[in-house]
């Protein structure tokens, strides 16, 4: 492991990616033959796209395996076995804010919300609300591992809160909220933050890496839903005040 060997095991990754994409492509080919009958040149263009996707996925998986997963686990293990394990809570908060603030998909969502509130709610306010929401989620997720809170009550409380907020939020915002659950669970959350959590749980005594290491993504997925619903309530009040 001490040698610089960034391409180790890449053959396996290539095979894995081909197996992942093949069923979807075969499904399309079957549809094409039976009923679509798109022009040949067009289909060739689509297949170029598939090849680019395939290369991209291979690079992504290999890069994640040699960079983010080992880094996350060793940083997590360092904190987990140190005396200042509590520092993971502010650190998680900081990382959550940083990843969300920098994520382009989040910017798209902000623009979308600004549009549907016809400018009442500014894009920058939405960006900070979302980033803050995810930051709290990651901080809470870290606190759960460190202090051993149980997972299910927190999760159920989150969903009950979401259902309660629906009643007070503007209808358009409810639609956006539930479709926005995925914006923050991007590749950085899934690779780095998850390995960090697993590293912490594996290195702390009395913690089970399977039970305590996972669950962070579930917290992160809730954050945009709750944040957008809160903005929806804010918007309803602003709108109500003006008319």
């Amino acid at each position: 492991m001490n040698e610089f060997s960034p391409l180790e095991g890449i053959g396996h990754v290539v095979l894995d990616v081909i197996l992942a994409l093949a069923p979807l492509v075969l499904f399309f080919i079957a549809y094409q033959v039976i009923s679509l009958r798109l022009p040949r040149a067009y289909v060739t263009g689509l297949f170029k796209g598939i090849v680019i996707t395939l290369i991209g996925m291979v690079l992504f998986f290999q890069g994640v395996a040699i960079a983010f997963i080992p880094a996350g686990q060793s940083i997590g293990a360092y904190f987990g076995s140190s005396d200042y394990v509590w520092a993971l809570v502010p650190f998680g908060f900081f990382l959550g804010f940083l990843t969300t603030y920098a994520e382009p998909a989040v910017r798209v969502l902000c623009y979308q919300i600004e549009q549907s509130s016809s400018g009442y709610i500014r894009g920058s306010l939405i960006l900070y609300t979302l980033s803050f929401g995810v930051a709290v989620s990651v901080g809470l997720g870290m606190a759960r591992i460190i202090y051993g809170f149980s997972f299910l009550p927190l999760m159920i409380a989150g969903y009950i809160l979401a259902i309660l907020l629906i009643r007070f939020a503007d209808r358009d915002f409810v639609a956006i909220a539930f479709d926005s659950g995925g914006v923050a669970t991007g590749p950085m959350a899934v690779t780095f933050l998850m390995s960090l959590a697993v590293g912490v749980a594996a290195s702390m005594e009395g913690r089970n890496a399977v039970t305590e290491g996972f669950g962070l993504i579930a917290f992160i997925a809730l954050a945009p839903i709750l944040s957008v619903l809160v903005l929806g309530i804010l918007f309803k009040h602003k709108k109500g005040g003006k008319t």
Partner: protein, 231 residues
């Protein structure tokens, strides 16, 4: 080419800040060796190029495929075909979704192979497929979305009492990773295809909820897997 540049810029912008934080920690906190730092930089560069190519490829390859099938499928007029295609859309896109692979790979390695990767992917994919098919039926029969969300999450809460505790966080995580860059556009294309052919239903308000519903499937699926494993 403009597209390529723009995509690379966006991906770099999203990933660079956290890479800098990781590098600083590796050097100053962990005292990482030169090899480790080099591997991280090389790997991070692969991730940036990889995500950018992946996004571009999806846009010019998979996405038009999904739209073509989504627009063609309702013309068959057969409810059975529509529901079957909806199921396969959910299932096949989830099998291809990168985040689902990373999560299941981690679960496999952390559990020491106890919760193996391939069966977990299949369970998550069946869950998504089942709920996408249900969501399409909802649009056709005009069942209010709240009923389905309530039934879905009600089921989640009930099942959570008999699910072995080590499967709970994994189940909810599985619900979070299915809303990825392949699944979301495919499912939205399907929703738009169905609503446009049915007529009288708005693509916006009826199409909404497909993604929210789709993420309930994997939670229920992985919980059931846990219950069955514990038997």
């Amino acid at each position: 080419m403009q597209d390529y540049k723009e995509t690379f810029k966006e991906v770099l912008q999203a990933i660079l800040p956290i890479c800098i934080v990781i590098l600083l920690l590796q050097v100053f906190l962990l005292g990482a060796s030169v090899t480790e730092v080099l591997e991280f930089i090389f790997g991070a560069a692969m991730v940036v190029v990889g995500i950018a190519l992946f996004l571009i490829g999806v846009k010019i390859g998979l996405l038009p495929m999904g739209e073509a099938i989504g627009a063609e499928m309702p013309k068959s007029g057969s409810l059975l075909i529509i529901v079957a295609v909806a199921f396969f859309f959910g299932f096949l896109t989830t099998v291809a979704e990168p985040d689902v692979r990373v999560l299941t790979m981690m679960i496999d390695s952390v559990s020491g192979g106890g919760i193996a990767q391939t069966p977990t992917i299949l369970v998550i994919a069946v869950g998504v497929g089942f709920f996408v098919a249900t969501a399409i039926l909802r649009i056709i029969y005009r069942v209010p979305i709240m009923y389905l969300l309530a039934a879905g999450y009600g089921g989640v809460i009930l099942l959570s009492f008999i699910t072995p505790p080590e499967f709970l966080p994994i189940a909810f995580d599985a619900g979070g990773v299915t809303t990825g860059p392949i699944t979301v556009p495919f499912i939205l294309a399907l929703g738009v295809g169905v609503t446009s052919v049915l007529g009288g239903r708005s693509a916006l308000s009826d199409g909404f909820g497909l993604i929210g519903l789709a993420s309930i499937g994997p939670i229920l699926g992985v919980m059931l897997m846990g219950v069955v494993t514990a038997l």
